[in-house]
């Protein structure tokens, strides 16, 4: 039974992983900027699916709420307001330096991930436990503890930064 559940999780994982990566490649490869923005949405949803597989359903929902619901729409808005959408991105001439920099960043991230001592609970998980994880509060309270108690200063600083960004944009568009 345990093997069966992990098999279906494996299948779901591969479906999500492949579609996420393919759409991420499509984001950079497509000429049509509007469509690549739409593929960016697919990537975001795939990442939300990954969070769900890791039973971080709160993070998955925040991912969809913020990235799909707000940021993707703003990106699309910006794309539509851009002239000559069909001609592709004007930044394509920076292809090689971008490739080098993102390759370095990727190598760094992989290095950090593989060298971190993750506190993973590697027990086999039965379907009953999975159902229980959906029903009961598991991760939510911990996130709240960390955000509002332990890292409250960083949380507030980020809020102030966002607020100043809002005020700055208002000042920019204000009638003179």
């Amino acid at each position: 039974m345990e093997n069966d559940t992990s098999l279906i999780i494996d299948i779901v994982f591969w479906i999500i992983a492949v579609s996420t990566i393919v759409s991420a490649i499509a984001v950079v490869a497509l000429k049509d900027v509007f469509r690549s923005a739409l593929f960016l949405v697919v990537t975001f949803i795939g990442i939300a699916g990954m969070f769900l597989l890791l039973r971080a359903e709160f993070l998955a929902m925040v991912q969809i709420l913020l990235y799909v619901g707000a940021i993707a729409v703003l990106i699309l808005f910006a794309v539509v307001l851009t002239r000559d959408v069909e001609q592709g991105s004007p930044f394509n001439r920076y292809l090689i330096p971008v490739l080098v920099i993102s390759g370095l960043i990727l190598a760094g991230v992989i290095f950090v991930i593989t060298n971190t001592n993750w506190n993973v609970n590697s027990n086999n998980i039965t379907s009953e436990q999975m159902t229980a994880a959906f029903v009961e509060t598991s991760i939510l309270g911990n996130i709240a503890e960390l955000l509002i108690k332990k890292y409250v200063l960083a949380f507030e600083v980020v809020s102030v930064v966002l607020l100043s960004a809002v005020i700055g944009s208002l000042a920019l568009v204000r009638k003179r």
């Binding site: 039974m1 069966d4 559940t5 098999l7 279906i8 049509d32 509007f34 469509r35 739409l38 949405v41 359903e57 709160f58 929902m61 925040v62 969809i64 709420l65 799909v68 619901g69 707000a70 993707a72 729409v73 703003l74 699309l76 808005f77 539509v80 379907s127 159902t131 959906f134 029903v135 009961e136 509060t137 598991s138 939510l140």
Partner: protein, 415 residues
């Protein structure tokens, strides 16, 4: 016996799961999950589509009543079969795609529009032990999934390659993104008072319906939600006197049917949400079972929506934006602040707020609501609205930035 148990439990995931798990071999666990999910999806989709079809009939009949006419009454008893006639008409029409449109996006948009609506309904608890209602992040789930429809409207408007569709989509994005904020904040008030994010637990926490405990939150939520589903006071997305039909100008046939279906589905879902969040869901009195109470309350909210649609004129673009940012946002923050302070003072702990606490909160919140509404009405009411400068000649606006306009104003000054 098993079947009766399942029928009684309605949308109970675990009930259906247990039924199949009973006779399936153990190593086919995944198949049981699959069958259960498919059955659940079938039930949810069919229930939603049928109730939406009934809503279109009800809405048209009621609008007819409000406007002193009959409404559809020819096909079937009281015109009840009218939705079927509409469906047949829409499906038999030619499905056209405009020349030069972005075809895949154009085809995908109605689907992206419909699917979130169906998913959201899955987590609404029709009764106590509904599995999907016990999802511990139900509130955030609802807010997150409904925010996807902005994307669908934008896709539809952009891919149509039509000016009016694009205008409708631009207005839609501006409006939906603005109204999501007060809606989210008013929902946070509910979550704080109920001490949970699960929709089932929200219902269980409502010893007094939250419409009485936090009337301000209710008002903000229902206003923002009717903007989110772009019904009449807020329907400038598809205001037919200005934009043709807004973002679905170019749609016809089955795709148009899907878009219309989703638009009429939105009131059903929002009414079910309002019932869950503010009207204490399936809880009721007497021998009437929970789901029936749920349906009665949803129906009352739906009637309210039809009533609003029949009696309110459409708002202008600038009025809509100022209502969201200057009216609803401060009101929702006042509501959140008051409730957070009250819950902090009562400090309910694990057990949740007692009925006595809720009664005290009701008293305080009603007085604060009345004061806040009076203040907001005085700050941004009709008498304080800045009217645009009067135009010299009726046609001067039409020729703005042209030489004709200059002449027109010159003429007016000469007079």
């Amino acid at each position: 016996m098993m079947e009766i148990e399942i029928l009684r439990s309605g949308f109970d995931f675990l009930g259906i799961y247990g039924f199949f798990d009973g006779f399936m071999p153990d190593n086919l666990d995944w198949l049981v999950f699959l069958i259960t999910s498919v059955i659940l999806a079938m039930v949810i989709i069919n229930a939603l589509v049928i109730s939406t079809a009934l809503l279109t009939w009800f809405e048209r009949r009621m609008l007819g009543r409000f406007q002193s006419r009959l409404g559809p009454n020819r096909w079937g008893p009281f015109g009840l079969l009218q939705p079927i006639a509409d469906l047949v008409k829409l499906l038999t029409k030619e499905d056209t795609i405009p020349e030069g449109a972005d075809k895949p996006v154009f085809t995908l948009a109605p689907i992206v529009f419909l699917v979130p609506a169906l998913i959201v309904f899955a987590v609404i608890p029709l009764h106590g032990s509904s599995f999907l209602g016990r999802l511990n992040i139900g509130l955030i789930f609802v807010i997150a999934i409904t925010s996807v429809n902005t994307l669908a409207i934008f896709m539809a408007g952009w891919s149509s390659l039509n000016k009016y569709a694009m205008f409708g989509a631009m207005r839609a994005v501006a409006m939906l993104v603005s109204y999501e904020i007060p809606m989210g904040i008013s929902v946070v008030g509910v979550a704080i008072a109920a001490q949970t994010l699960g929709l089932s637990n929200v219902v269980l926490a409502q010893d007094i319906p939250f419409i009485l405990v936090m009337p301000l939150g209710f008002l903000v939520f229902i206003t923002a939600a009717s903007a989110e589903m772009s019904r009449t006071p807020f329907d400038l997305i598809e205001s037919d006197s200005e934009l043709g039909a807004g973002y679905h100008t170019e749609y016809s046939g089955a795709k148009f049917a899907l878009l219309q279906l989703t638009e009429f589905m939105a009131p059903v879902i929002v009414a079910a949400l309002v019932t869950t969040l503010f009207l204490s869901g399936w809880r009721g009195y007497g021998p009437i079972p929970g789901p029936v109470w749920f349906i009665i309350k949803t129906f009352v909210v739906l009637f309210g929506f039809v009533w609003i649609r029949a009696s309110w004129p459409r708002l202008r673009v600038d009025q809509i934006m100022s209502l969201a940012w200057k009216g609803l946002l401060p009101l929702s923050i006042v509501n959140l602040f008051v409730i957070a302070v009250e819950v902090f003072i009562f400090n309910p702990g694990e057990a949740g707020l007692s009925t006595r606490d809720l009664l005290i909160m009701t008293g305080i919140n009603w007085s604060i609501t009345i004061i806040a509404l009076i203040v907001i009405f005085n700050v941004m009411g009709q008498s304080k609205l800045k009217r645009p400068e009067p135009v010299a000649l009726p046609l001067a606006n039409m020729y703005a930035n042209t030489t004709v306009s200059k002449k027109a104003t010159d003429l007016a000054e000469a007079d």
